[in-house]
Assembly symmetry: C2
Homo-oligomer: 355 residues x 2
Amino acid sequence: MTLDEVFMKRAFDLSLAGAGSVSPNPLVGAVIVKDGKIISEGYHAVYGGDHAELDAIKKATVSLEGATLYCTLEPCCHTNKQTPPCAQRIVKEKFRRVVIANLDPNPHVNGGGVEILKNAGIEVESGILASLGEEINEAFFITQNKKRPYIHLKLAATLDGKISMPTGESQWITSPTSRQYVHELRRTHSAVLVGAETARLDDPTLTVRLPDFNGKQPWRLVLTESGNLPPTLKLFNDEYKDRTVVLTKTKISFLSDDQQIIFTNLADLMSKLLAKKITSLFVEGGPMVATLLLKEKLVDRLSYFINPSLLGVGPSAISDIGVKTLATRPRLTEVKTKQFESDIYFTGKILCSQD
Amino acid sequence: MTLDEVFMKRAFDLSLAGAGSVSPNPLVGAVIVKDGKIISEGYHAVYGGDHAELDAIKKATVSLEGATLYCTLEPCCHTNKQTPPCAQRIVKEKFRRVVIANLDPNPHVNGGGVEILKNAGIEVESGILASLGEEINEAFFITQNKKRPYIHLKLAATLDGKISMPTGESQWITSPTSRQYVHELRRTHSAVLVGAETARLDDPTLTVRLPDFNGKQPWRLVLTESGNLPPTLKLFNDEYKDRTVVLTKTKISFLSDDQQIIFTNLADLMSKLLAKKITSLFVEGGPMVATLLLKEKLVDRLSYFINPSLLGVGPSAISDIGVKTLATRPRLTEVKTKQFESDIYFTGKILCSQD
């Protein structure tokens, strides 16, 4: 590691403290170095709060003139938001050098922050540990680049890809610690999504149930074409019922306007979700929703829990996703695995062929 | 570890040198200890060769009177075989104590060796590291206890349990290193088995192709009910054609008697395989054979290669194996995993419910 990478790594480590509180913003950390020593540190702690570089500047107790700022994301330059632009402040503080990991993909920034700094005579270097930033803020970059929410699909099945008995019996295929980990995954997304069939059959609550969780519950979304959902579902009656939104093609009479998004097609749905600041979806089934999203190449990440057992019969995790040849099947890339009791958990980005 | 366990572990380590050459015998190692020091070591190196304890006795250069013998398997006492019984020899050498890991499940021995030793006044202890022995000689113990060949089923599929495209295209789902490892698995079994459908579709050679392999090829078995197999298959024409045997219910005219086993049912087949000294089967597919063996609870170990990709359509690794409820589905136990490139390999004993 170069010295620049060491300081940038520290800035990324700091950024993680904002996890779960800054969405839909990305995690950002900053470190200020003078004469080879860290003299201040900061991070973006909460949505609407100070940006990381501003936090570090405010916390500094000595003059920043001639110092180097390490910032995991390009400093902002736009004024159409809740906090003043950081690039101008950096210029004002007379930094000598700014080191950046990732440029901000937000079209209101994208290079504009760097330009302001360079025009003021500040030396700027970007791309340091950029891949680490892309990993930490995966959902943010996808949302910005694809102009739709980041979609993370979870599947859980036996070795032979079965999710329940033909009778529908599915509790439980995976181990208790696998199911516990699902709550960890839910908490890092702005919404949890299931299909109407899963809502009807399982009557789930889709909440984050973790001892240390005291944030806002993710939105609970149910996707339905027909609008056929019983008003008695827990999602419509429990203490978090104001966090439930039905995504439907047909207006549902027993729900208020706030409780439903009426959409014409998936592109329309995606833009309506973004308008509601829903930038990341954790999709928990069932097979129809999973198959639909995979077929439309809308899945960015797949996480798959496998229990080492066999069923032979019963519904499969997915059906026809439109694969034409072996070579063009969707694959996981940058795969990581974890073990939960006897279950194996795979997670990776989905790599779809272009044809 | 106790001192007894340390010496027994050494005996097991020695036993491994016989891997691939002693079948259908088990791997056995022996260590002789006098005054707290190892004075000789031995192992069963090749089928028909000296037993481990005899090997160690022969290699000793000092008197064995009063010494302790560590032997991973109970010394034999029967004379209906190629080597003289070991128990009598141990008595003759005036050992003071014999420590054994596993009793020999062979009905001609089973406790008989221990009895001879005890009757001669030798102190005998058994069960030391017994579970290690059961693991190392898994196939041997299963064959002895169940009176049929040990059956190890291999499956390879995508995350969603698919083994090929609907067109039959299946080359390749798993990675090259996974496929290489299959050759390692083949070499440790006395026979490789496929169904007629796999033989017809894939025309495989089923040989061990490894640079360091110079042993005899495992038997190549094809299971068919109808006897409908083309005489042009590689299995009937390549340089190892004398290692091919068809398991059929109907006599096949183009094959000699040596090239076929005609059976009436699976129990009959199993005893005919044992009669031919085929004590372990590595089953490589396809779905019909896998499903049949699982349904009949004839699978002892399942090894499953998963490639982290999706197909959605195409044949599944298995079909209806007779599971009635989630709780009674077959599970893997003592699961071990390995990674081969992006593939994950699971191997475990099959735990079937009793109902």
